[in-house]
């Protein structure tokens, strides 16, 4: 659906009003399209000393053909408008080193191009070798989250924590955060750990992979199916029989197969496993997207309303994941992705059932990540904020307007933004990415 206010702000009259009245100024975000480069513009790189992570970052920048410089002063005094600022803070051993953040960013931050990217790479605090290092690394989060609120014109700021010896795993994550694929991911912290090195084609990272997407008939689910197929995956789309027709359309377009079932059915997991085994001899990617809302204040909540939401949003992913893992349907190197929600993080009036289910999805990720690592299966979740869908189009106007604007990017996200984040999790090259819950919310103020 269209954001009429945003369209209006792009007119001369709209711009005049926005500037003079201090109204929100939501810049149209740049999204990845066929043929887009990872980063379209120059990059300025800074670091605290020479580190392994720094070397890996610079190697990647060379690899993607980005022109980058390390001299901040030159940029600050020139007309150059860098598209990205990447800072390697893994070398921060104590709080004294945090000064470098200000020294690097203050002179150049104003120069950042529209829809620019700021990425700070730090060392996973919990894995620091000293107390001083732990404190310094933990401090980075406050820096990036605040800077996210300061940068304008569709720019994003994210922090990537990398584990010791995991610098070679940074590739897929940095590509994601640098590129237009992360347009609506802002103020987030990603954690990259160690894992096997996977040398796949970044243009078609999912070639030869099979992806199960539940709720694939419409909205965010259809966008996920489209995006994973774009990246080379074969799609097994699941939806309820009521959505047979739209599901058929999506799967015909993508050349995938369809399976009509209710994920809450007692034999849903077995049916999925049997279908996947028969058609594809297994699965590589599982996206638990199917979800419903049945909003009611708790005082007015009926048992069936409560159960319906928990059954679809939480118990079904829990049961299906458990069965697919036990049955060995998910192959080594596989990736499971849950769909949580900022309501599951921040809570929401009238959504005790929904928020319980979505917080439970986060629990599912956190509980299973270490266990599944033994089988070389990863599990992560996205937590969408305000995404423009048929569902949010039904939200009353004022609440919808507020929902759209109370984030750093001052606009709603699109289904593709959620899908791109899922595609990053699904990428086998993200072998070091597990146990993450990444919000796709434009840095919403809710639960931040």
């Amino acid at each position: 659906m269209t954001d009429r206010y945003q369209t209006f702000t792009r007119t001369p009259l709209g711009q005049t009003l926005v500037k003079n009245l201090g109204l929100p100024d939501p810049v149209p975000l740049q999204r990845w399209t066929e043929g887009s480069r990872v980063i379209d513009g120059s990059v300025v790189f800074g670091a605290i000393g020479e580190t392994e992570a720094g070397k890996a970052i610079q190697a990647l920048l060379r690899d993607i053909g980005a022109s980058f410089s390390t001299a901040t002063e030159g940029v600050a005094s020139s007309q150059i408008r860098p598209k990205a600022l990447v800072f390697d803070a893994t070398g921060a051993l104590s709080t004294a080193d945090l000064t470098s953040l200000q020294r690097f960013f203050s002179p150049v931050i104003r120069q950042l191009a529209p829809a620019g990217r700021v990425i700070v790479v730090g060392r996973t605090p919990e894995l620091a070798t000293s107390t001083e290092q732990h404190i310094a690394q933990r401090a980075l989060e406050g820096f990036t989250r605040s800077l996210g609120k300061e940068v304008k014109r569709g720019a994003t700021v994210n922090l990537v924590y990398v584990a010791p010896d995991a610098h070679e795993q940074l590739d897929s994550t940095l590509r994601f955060f640098l590129s237009p694929k992360s347009a609506y991911v802002d103020g987030q912290v990603a954690r990259v750990g160690t894992g096997p090195l996977v040398g796949n084609d970044p243009e078609r990272p999912l070639a030869g992979k099979v992806a199960l997407v539940t709720g694939a008939a419409r909205g965010i689910g259809a966008a996920i199916a489209d995006t994973l197929a774009r990246d080379g995956a074969t799609i097994l789309g699941v939806d309820v029989a009521q959505n047979a027709d739209p599901l058929r359309k999506v799967m015909t377009r993508l050349g995938g197969s369809e399976l009509l079932l209710d994920v809450t059915a007692v034999d849903a997991a077995q049916r999925i496993a049997a279908h996947a085994q028969e058609q594809y001899a297994g699965l590589d990617i599982v996206v638990h997207n199917a979800g419903i809302t049945r909003d009611k204040r708790l005082a007015n909540m009926r048992t069936d309303t409560w159960d319906a939401v928990l059954d679809v949003n939480l118990r079904a992913p829990e049961r299906i994941t458990s069965h697919l893992v036990e049955a060995g349907t998910i192959r080594a190197g596989g990736s499971i992705i849950g769909v949580a929600s900022i309501a599951g993080i921040a809570g929401n009036n009238g959504q005790t059932n929904y928020a319980t289910s979505k917080a439970g999805v986060i629990g599912l990720v956190q509980a299973l990540a270490p266990k599944l690592a033994e089988k070389q299966i990863r599990i992560n979740a996205v937590a969408p904020g305000f995404i423009e869908t048929e569902m949010t189009a039904k939200v009353p106007f004022t609440i919808r307007e507020v929902g759209r604007r109370i984030n750093s990017l001052q606009q709603g996200g699109l289904p593709i933004d959620v899908a791109e984040t899922i595609a990053w999790f699904a990428d086998p090259a993200s072998a070091g990415v597990t146990g993450n819950v990444i919000r796709v919310c434009g840095q919403s103020m809710l639960g931040a």
Partner: protein, 425 residues
């Protein structure tokens, strides 16, 4: 207590089934049930005699017909001293009536009884809506003229809109066809398979008429001698041309040809002990040996609305110590071709049988040549409560003609219920 007695199906009779708003459009349920029972009485020579009990029902019934079956008996050729009562279990009514009569016979409470069912989709009850009903009841309670005027002033134009019974589930507001369409999708039942089943139903019923099989099963009514829905000359090609009526878009498969039409009609079956039959110069055609009901939770989407027979049959088989293949005939009521095909597919499916039925192995395939050999509801039509009687009578006769054997009856019903039974000889 003595051993239960064998329950014989001695005779059956029905009137030809008519399409909604056609030949029987001015006939009431009572008219049609009386015709079916009188035909049975004539054929069995029971005129003026008393039977233990008459049990029957109608799904769509006028409020004034609260004691319908007893009223029918009083207006029939049976002795006026024959007791009767009404039952209602949606499309399972007719078979359930036979089970109830059979149970009393088995227990020695009665020696013979008539089970039946009737339905009219033409002479349907139309009710005033709740708003107007409340106003009218208040009017009745009002004592003075000013009070009555005050009550009447509450009537609004919308209150005059009547409530017409709909073939829809009260809890889901979806029609039975729409429910069945979802199940068909989940089981991947194709349009071709449904049309083929519908075609076989017409061919088999037409053949049954041609060889005189229906001769002693039907009494003509209002000039109608055969089921009005029967299309002896239909072909798979003709059926394939029909537009889907349930479901949407390219995934829709259910048409007016492979779904049963709304129909008017009535049926009745005479059951008794061996001794009673002999005493009345009648002969057992087959015995009602087992029965079972089951229900599914279709409201939360845990199971399809019409899938209850898929649960009832294995439970009955377990009690009877039989397998699904131990039958010579299968009478699976064709509410929709997709219902029959979904049920058969479920029984063949190892996951369904293990996870939903709790069985170690699937029930397996049946020999399709034994299915609905004399046609079923897609060809004959389906006056809801009358279908059970049609099937029991026809299967009993088929078993008798065959010189013995075993037949399975499976009927799905609204509300997520299923009624199933076994006839043997």
């Amino acid at each position: 207590m003595t051993e239960p007695r064998r329950v014989a199906v001695v005779a059956g009779n029905r009137i030809p089934f008519a399409r909604q708003d056609k030949t029987y459009r001015h006939s009431s349920n009572s008219d049609m049930l009386t015709a079916a029972i009188n035909g049975l009485v004539d054929r069995t020579g029971l005129g003026g005699q008393e039977v233990g009990e008459v049990v029957a029902g109608a799904v769509l019934k006028h409020a004034r017909d609260w004691n319908m079956v007893r009223e029918v008996v009083l207006g029939s050729k049976l002795a006026a001293t024959t007791p009767a009562y009404d039952i209602q279990q949606a499309c399972g009514t007719g078979l359930e009536a036979a089970i109830l009569v059979g149970n009393k016979i088995a227990l020695g409470q009665i020696d013979a009884g008539i089970a039946g069912g009737v339905d009219t989709a033409s002479d349907a009850p139309i009710a005033v809506n709740d708003e107007l009903r409340n106003i009218l009841l208040d009017l009745n309670r009002a004592k003075t003229y000013p009070e009555r005027l005050k009550v009447l002033a509450r009537v609004r134009p919308k209150d005059v809109v009547p409530e017409i019974p709909r073939n829809a589930e009260p809890r889901t507001r979806k029609s039975m066809g729409d429910h069945a369409a979802l199940t068909a999708l989940e089981w991947g039942i194709t349009r071709e398979a449904q049309d083929e089943l519908a075609y076989r139903s017409h061919v088999n019923l037409a053949a049954a008429y041609d060889r005189g099989f229906q001769q002693d099963l039907i009494t003509p009514y209002l000039g109608l001698e055969k089921d009005q829905n029967l299309r002896p000359d239909t072909t798979v090609e003709k059926l394939a041309r029909l537009k889907p009526v349930f479901g949407k878009g390219e995934t829709a498969t259910m048409t007016a040809g492979n779904s049963t039409p709304l129909t008017d009609g009535a049926s009745a079956v005479l059951l008794s002990t061996d001794e009673w039959a002999e005493k009345h110069g009648l002969r057992p055609l087959a015995y009602l040996t087992h029965s079972q009901t089951a229900a599914v939770d279709y409201v939360k989407g845990a199971e399809g609305l019409l899938m209850a027979p898929a649960y009832a049959v294995p439970r009955m088989l377990a009690r009877a110590g039989l397998t699904l293949q131990d039958f010579d005939y299968y009478e699976i009521h064709e509410a929709f071709a997709s219902q029959v095909l979904s049920t058969l597919k479920a029984w063949e499916d190892p996951i369904f049988c293990k996870e939903r039925l709790g069985l170690d192995a699937p029930l397996g395939e049946i020999d399709r040549a034994k299915l609905n050999v004399n046609g079923s509801s897609l060809a004959a039509g389906h006056p809801f409560a009358a279908t059970g009687g049609r099937i029991v009578a026809a299967l009993a006769k088929q078993l008798d003609e065959n010189g013995g054997g075993r037949g399975l009856i499976s009927i799905c019903a609204a509300g997520g219920q299923g009624v199933v039974a076994i006839l043997e000889k």
